[in-house]
Amino acid sequence: MNEAKGHALSLRGLSKKYGEFVAVSDVSLEVGRGEFLTLLGPSGSGKTTILMAVAGFVAPSAGAILLDGRDITPLPPEKRDFGMVFQGYALFPHMTVAENVTFPLRVRGMSRAERDAKVRGALDLVQLGAFADRLPKQLSGGQQQRVALARALVFDPALLLLDEPLSALDKKLRAELQEELKALHQRVGRTFVNVTHDQEEALSLSDRIAILNHGRLVQAGAPGELYERPRTRFVADFLGKSNFLDGMVHGATASGFALEAGAVRVAVRLPDGAAAPPEGARTLLSLRPEKVALLAEDEGAENIAEGRILSFAYLGAGFSLRVATEHLGEIRAVLPAWKAPIAPAEGLPVRLGWAADAAVPVLEDAA
């Protein structure tokens, strides 16, 4: 990967208002050279608006957009030189695949011979060399998507913007194209900014993810970091699934604390450098279902909760259980089938266990 080829992008206090309605509110974000950043958020959270502001189609109400340190906020879209794949592709229906891909080169006044070579290269890159003379409507959804990608890449843009490029595809094709997209990113070494509301896509593709809600940036970081250490309840809930345990902080030390919930205490070990919440404060813990184990009769764990199985679902690779516990409410557990010590059944009394570093404190979302 040639990291120096991509642009560095930074958003400084970006806001967009439509009348009274705030679509994007004070978003600041850095995207490094050659990085694959995903904007993730529920519908209406402002992802497209941010991408359109970067592309130049939406004028921000406040804030600045910098490309390699240069302010590009006032530049019109045609002066920005970004590749873009729109939600729904936006291929030109009256042009063949090759003509579509040639378009950005034709605009730049490139000679025919040079154009042809580049177009062939771009189509080969997305494995569509054989389809050059077809019209977009004669292609499948996945093929159209790849044409849109080839068209966005052919003029070698230093920044590629993708607005839900895979949303129209079925699950299997999407998984295939996700891999292709990731490989492509590695091959071309450009900066990619991708928009999605599919958390799996975000986790598997990105170097970094920025999570948005109601137009605000909630948290940004590497996928593993966001998944393991969500800052708020919203992040824990949106990126994967989570149990939430509510209680008071008790016996806080440098390395951890206990959460007092009813008559039980949950031991929490914090990673190095993380500050414990203040003694006596009300705190919320996020506990991932896959970190909860179903204990065998004589097995121990740092935290143990007893309860009864409310319901269970067989997922093929494993089970998903809902367990009603006495003091901690309902807890979900997801366990691989080979790791289940007993066959689950409704009403069965069980013991759940998890390590002290499995649960992490998260903030309640600001209303």
Partner: protein, 263 residues
Amino acid sequence: MDGAYRTGPFGRSLAWVTALYLVLPILIVVPVALTDQRFLSLPQEGISFRHFGTVLGSAEWLGSIWQSFTIAVAATVLSVTAGTLCAIGCWRISRRATELVRVLMLLPLIIPSIVYAIGLYRYFGPLGLLDRFLGVAIAHGVTGIPYVVITVSTALAAFDPRLEQAARGMGASLSQTLRWVILPRIAPGIFSGAIFAFIHSWDELVMVLFIASRQVFTLPRRIWDGINENLDPAMAAVAVLLILFTLLLLMADRALRRRSEGG
């Protein structure tokens, strides 16, 4: 039409009667044009093509046909250029003010042409445009704009605005976007508008009566004068030729539309 409601006999006969009522005046012209008499009448002893011969052999008629044709071509160019640009402009800006512009552009359709003609007469005089090719072409071109605005606006309504964004995002200037993306997509609409603008000029009489007299003598004007002065069946022959020509244009429009829908 599978699954559609079937019309009852009453509905069907009503439709036929209406259609007949609409085309009867057109159809009556055909036998009159083929009359063997020397005045406007139905054929008595047999049909004859001699009135067609009169028309096609007369320098006056041919001159008028040629004049009407060139005026219509010039007017069409004017209508299409102005109408297309106006429709695209309104579509791109698309604010409340542009709605007003669009309504204004339809005014020539709404205002009775005789009122319009009086107005034209008043201010074409000082400009020296009365009885001039240019004057008539401008008058017809301007009043033809609404047809183009309507057809092009309709075509634009079906145009995906993201295509324009995509083009601009790839670095295309406004004129490149216009030439390579927008115009090819709305070409059928422009062509329809052109045909209607052409027909509009081709058979326009009221304005011509006001702003032209001797030098510019269009085909409708010659028919009008002919009917007022003598009831020569040559008029009916001209009318038949006019109808055939118009039909041809409409068929071209239909064929083009069908091709753009199918293709």
